[in-house]
Symmetry: C2
Subunit: 322 residues, 2 copies
């Protein structure tokens, strides 16, 4: 079977909970997509195997072979060097060290592989194809297990020395709550789904009534996924409302501060919780952010990420569209 190159690109969004793969056309159309759970045990090689399988599944749905793709982009957590060696992806099993992800995936798929930052590629996807299209300068805020950020300034990605965008680790309460990063008072300590779950568990154990963990079990999950929060809020669960309100205020302070510093035209809210809770919660965050805006007569536009859950994978595919 001879390989015929197509104009399609592969993209894989490697998250702590799920692996989202997609095969994407030159204008961002998704021709096939497949999702897999991120392995919680094993090591980088197991994760890479799941990634290759999800991408192969997406290609099959699109009617192509992985080797026929222009290339496969990956949005990964941690640090990637120019050769595609990924280090310190501490959300992933056994990935404290380094792993040659690009080389291994390339061998498995028979395609070129490039690695980008997970949040940065999702920001670029929104900028080029999604809610950020009308603007030259945007801040992407990804509200999920953690809180990540990406920037496009005057039409170009700004990544600093490679690690810009850590809005989740801007300090909003000096000396405040402990963050998963080990520091205190970071935005993520209040708004990350991880710390929110820890806080909910703590309150629950102290006797605060909540349906959060009941909903979690009913839905067959072992974590407070975004959908669990959504259902608890719909049920009027007080603890869920309290913790989400705390997160909304924290996000408002963090986003307001970032806008005071950067003065971007627009803020795009993505991530599991951001996309799931959507417009009404975006407006609540916007209202909180407005309280902190130094120039308060022309706030930035605020939008929910238009590409939703697929933004990361689509953005990763754009690593081959430059």
């Amino acid at each position: 079977m001879g390989s015929t190159k197509t104009k399609l690109r592969g993209g894989i969004d490697l998250g702590g909970t799920k692996i989202q793969a997609a095969v994407v056309g030159p204008r961002g159309k998704v021709h096939g997509e497949e999702r897999a759970a991120t392995p919680t045990e094993g090591g980088p090689a197991d994760v890479a195997r799941e990634m290759a399988a999800a991408l192969s599944g997406s290609a099959r749905k699109a009617g192509v072979e992985p080797a026929d793709l222009v290339g496969v982009g990956v949005g990964a957590p941690g640090d990637a060097d120019p050769q595609g060696v990924v280090s310190g992806a501490s959300n992933l099993p056994g990935w404290e060290g380094s792993y040659p992800l690009a080389a291994e995936l390339s061998t498995a798929l028979g395609a070129d592989v490039r690695i980008g930052g997970d949040v940065q590629v999702a920001t670029e996807a929104e900028f080029r194809l999604g809610a950020g299209k009308p603007y030259r300068s945007i801040l992407g805020v990804f509200w999920g297990t953690g809180v990540g950020g990406g920037m496009i300034l005057d039409g170009k990605p700004w990544t600093g020395r490679g690690n810009a965008g850590e809005i989740g680790h801007t300090v909003i309460v000096r000396g405040g709550a402990r963050c998963p990063c080990g520091r205190r008072g970071c935005l993520e300590a209040y708004a990350g789904r991880g710390p929110m779950e820890a806080k909910a568990r703590e309150e629950h154990e102290k006797g605060t009534k909540t349906r959060l963990f009941k909903i979690m079990k009913e839905r067959g999950h072992d974590r407070l996924k975004s959908s669990v929060w959504e259902h608890a809020l719909e049920d009027g669960d007080e603890l869920a409302e309290h913790l989400i309100d705390r997160a909304v205020k924290a996000l408002g302070a963090g986003i307001g501060s970032a806008v005071n510093l950067l003065d971007v035209e627009a803020v795009i809210l993505g991530g599991g919780l951001g996309v799931r809770l959507g417009e009404p919660f975006l407006r609540r965050i916007e209202k909180q952010a407005a309280k902190h805006l130094f120039v308060d007569d022309r706030p930035p536009a605020m939008h929910v990420a238009a590409l939703g859950d697929l933004g990361g994978a689509i953005g990763a595919s754009l690593l081959f569209a430059r």
Copy 2:
């Protein structure tokens, strides 16, 4: 007397306390400089008159006429439009509205006048001629009456929609101390010399012992100028040490957060207090910032502004060196 154009440029740094004018050569050499107190009464026309006088004095010392200068740049607070109309410079007497500063100064001096943001021109001066020279991306932090910021990203000034750099109004304690801007928990509420003086006065009136106000009077001032803080610290004044320590921790949190977001190569500390207290305090701020750095194994370089008090005026002169 015929006017002979020189290669010299004029620069005026318009601050809330002082007006610093300078005549500057093409490579940043100061040929003449003069300082005046910013009028505390009257209106914009009075301020403009003092500015013209200080610039004329600087020119005289440099042996030229203002009309012989390539042009005169001004670093101003508030907002300047492209025609050099300055609005909302609320630190200055009667300047809540708009005033055609460029046109008025140009008439008074017989030279072209351009207006830039005070903090941004000072950041550019450090980038092109001062402590920021070795770097492509810097954050300038100006610690004085307020706390201002400026950015150079990949060699170019980043001003957003015209108001980027407000690091003084990033939130470091959500719901915390009241800031002069009317909001709560901003960096400036803890580190601005204005709020620090208000807090010192409040503590003093409550009975806390301090030599701050005695030193102020002995030195013939009616405000706690940077030199007053410096002398009180030298005397081991406990209240002064406490409030400076509070400011240092606040600056550390604000700078750490900004670096997490921007990942710049270097941070330059200027402003009245920054320059006056200098290296030992920069190191204390650096230590505090390090506690908040998400990527903590390669902190940005930190330097005191090399151009000192003249950075603003030199930076303003660079408005005619592009």
